[in-house]
């Protein structure tokens, strides 16, 4: 694995008596798709929320491009170029694609919105991602299919020269063809040099696009390994038992 753009070391997070993350190490590399897998309640969401600055870890270090950083709020994460695409997308149905992509970060000329600049940039971004399915970028999001919405949400995340894009179950609600579209897009993001974190329950998806697989088990990192070194059965074992024969475990303590 190349030098990680973001490394987490010994991250711990508790909510009251519940110890959700225990000494988690996690590496994210530019140009790679890192899949984060784990059963329900394994701590996947908590981990990405720590990265996004929504939760602050109790202790643990964040190394961004080799330097120690503090992420204490969503703005810190955004400033580092970390963007999250949430499972429930967080798009406004009543606004069009351009408006959604620039929501909260509108481009302005004086006090006035600069619609032409925003539309040009939105179009350039979508073209850069080779998105061909959207008819007009001035149509409202309400009129888009699930795959197209996911595309818009992802395009919004990469609009800001972001370095790390975290996708939370991007294909969970999609049909076969749309899943394929989104996975292709995920692959293109990494090929464009972004660090992509893909959270997924679907091992088919994971093995199709990921370069690297990190498995969480009961709040501990069971293993983070190259995709080519494992087969799906081993990953399932990591997810369900925290260890698997032939996989060097990161050390799950019982």
């Amino acid at each position: 694995m190349s030098t990680p753009i973001l490394s987490l070391r010994g991250v711990n997070k508790s909510f009251g008596p519940v110890h959700v993350l225990r000494d988690v190490d996690f590496d994210i590399a530019a140009g790679k798709v890192t899949a984060l897998v784990g059963d329900n309640g394994a701590g996947k969401s908590t981990l990405i929320k720590c990265i996004a600055g929504i939760y602050t870890p109790d202790h643990g270090d964040f190394l961004f491009e080799g330097n120690k950083v503090d992420i204490t709020g969503p703005r810190d994460a955004t400033a580092l170029g970390i963007e999250i695409v949430y499972q429930d997308l967080a798009l406004c149905d009543n606004l069009d694609i351009v408006h959604n992509m620039f929501l909260g970060r509108e481009k302005k000329r004086g006090p006035v919105l600069d619609e032409t600049a925003m539309e040009s940039l939105a179009r350039k971004t979508l073209d850069g991602l080779s998105v061909r399915t959207v008819k007009s970028i001035r149509q409202t999001v309400a009129s888009l299919s699930g795959g197209q919405r996911q595309t818009v949400a992802i395009a919004r995340a990469v609009l800001w020269n972001s370095k790390i894009v975290i996708l939370d179950e991007p294909t969970a609600a999609l049909g076969v063809a749309q899943t394929e579209q989104v996975l292709n897009l995920v692959r293109r993001l990494a090929d464009n040099g972004l660090a992509v974190v893909l959270i997924s329950h679907n091992l088919n998806d994971v093995f199709e696009v990921a370069d690297n697989i990190a498995a969480l088990y009961l709040g501990q990192m069971a293993a983070q390994i190259d995709k080519n070194e494992v087969i799906p059965r081993q990953v399932i074992e990591l997810i369900t038992t925290g260890k698997s024969a032939g996989v060097e475990s990161a050390g799950v303590k019982k």
Partner: protein, 416 residues
């Protein structure tokens, strides 16, 4: 127009269909089918009502009645324009009518009892309105009390304040010439035309400028033919209206001459222009739509949802204060019933009939004007035909119900 030569290739072009006038019509039709009906029902309703009342009453389509209609509708329209901001968030302000009453009383008391000049009194009244709105918005946004409950409580409380300010059964008269002129005087015919022509020129230049900028950036812009058609249509209709208002409408012109645009029309137009600018051209306006569409998404996008909510209530109550001035001007006084009775319901009705959604996220400033005219036409027309007030209320209620129904159904159509 032919496709621009920009980098945009795949996502760039809208359907090729819209490259022609026929295509544009087709696009519009598919938008309507998708539930995006906008102000269409209000416009059609307005035309239908005018035809019906015009054929049944000889007075309805006279210039005199037209001017009357505008001044009757003015206060409700202004309250409705304020309500659009709150409705866009999916909230409601039931107290807006009595906010107009209270602020109207403040205005009149300052002028009549304390000899404050009208502009200072008006500023004070607007300030009181904005302050009341701040209170309502804070209770809704910070404490999380439903706006329905907060403003219902305020509806009663403001009525009480108005009663105390006016004194039991008392009315406070206003003698100030400027305030009275708003609803009772007109621009001279020459000024009316100058006003019409300058507004038209500004409107045309803004439109051309926008299209030009989009073309320069290589973006698809509105069809020039369609734009000319729409602009010409709008200018012809408003031109006819100005012409009608410039006709002498006094029964005894030698004694009192009555012609020209009522002063309240430019007032409403100014609010329309500023409000439309804020809603469609500023980040704040965009955030209002975003909060109304999906508050959680807005919050995650870094928008201060609470501040947007509070600001919308402040704008709504501030505009109610201007409506309060219009009431004072129309009635020559403020009484304990100013802004009461059916005022608020007519204003909510106006916004909704005009096409603003009660579910939030959809609506425009002009909806308030179109809807306000529909409400006023029903009220005025049925009055001329001699129907009882009870019948008028029933019909207006039914029209509101139909509009809300259309809103709900079109929303369902859009979510498929």
């Amino acid at each position: 127009m032919s496709s621009p030569t920009s980098a945009g290739t795949s996502t760039a072009e809208t359907s090729i269909a819209s490259a022609t006038l026929k295509g544009a019509m087709h696009d519009y039709w598919s938008r309507i089918k998708a539930g995006d009906i906008g102000s269409l029902p209000a416009v059609l309703g307005l035309v239908a009502l005018c035809i019906v009342f015009g054929s049944m009453s000889s007075v309805f389509l006279t210039p005199g009645n037209f001017a009357n209609l505008l001044t009757q509708a003015a206060a409700v329209i202004v309250i409705a324009m304020g309500l659009v901001f709150v409705l866009l968030l999916g909230e409601i302000d039931l107290s807006a009518g009595y906010t107009a009453g209270v602020t109207g009383a403040v205005l009149v008391i300052l002028i009549t009892n304390h000899d404050v000049p009208w502009y200072a009194a008006l500023l004070a009244a607007i300030f009181v309105g904005v302050f009341l709105g701040f209170g309502l918005g804070t209770l809704v946004a910070r404490l999380g009390i439903p706006s329905f409950v907060v403003t219902l409580a305020a509806f009663l409380a403001f009525q009480g304040i108005l009663l105390l300010l006016a004194g039991e059964g008392g009315t406070i008269r206003v003698e100030d010439k400027t305030i009275l002129a708003v609803e009772n005087s007109n621009l001279t015919p020459t000024l009316s035309w100058i006003f019409f022509i300058s507004v038209s020129i500004i409107y045309i230049l803004t439109g051309l400028n926008r299209m030009n900028r989009r073309r320069k950036a290589g973006l698809k812009s509105e069809l020039i033919n369609l734009w000319i058609l729409k602009t010409a249509g709008l200018l012809i209709i408003t031109g006819i209206a100005v012409f009608a208002l410039n006709v002498e409408r006094s029964n005894n012109p030698d004694l009192v001459s009555l012609k020209g645009i009522p002063y309240v029309v430019p007032v409403i137009l100014l609010i329309l222009v500023i409000g439309t600018f804020v809603l469609s051209r500023t980040a704040f306006g965009r955030h209002i739509y975003a909060v109304g569409g999906n508050a959680e998404a807005a919050r995650r996008a870094g928008i201060n949802v609470k501040r947007v909510r509070i600001a919308a209530f402040m704008i709504c109550s501030g505009l109610s204060a201007i409506a309060g001035m219009i009431f004072a001007s129309r009635q020559n006084s403020v009484s304990p019933t100013t802004g009461g009775s059916s005022t608020l319901l007519y204003a909510v009705g106006a916004a909704v009939i005009g096409g603003t959604s009660l579910f939030g996220g959809k609506g425009k400033m002009r909806d308030a004007i179109l809807g306000g005219l529909v409400v006023a036409v029903i009220d005025n027309g049925m009055g001329l035909l001699g129907y009882a007030a009870g019948i008028k209320f029933i019909v207006t209620g039914l029209v509101l119900l139909i509009s809300a129904g259309v809103d709900a159904i079109s929303r369902r159509g859009a979510s498929v």
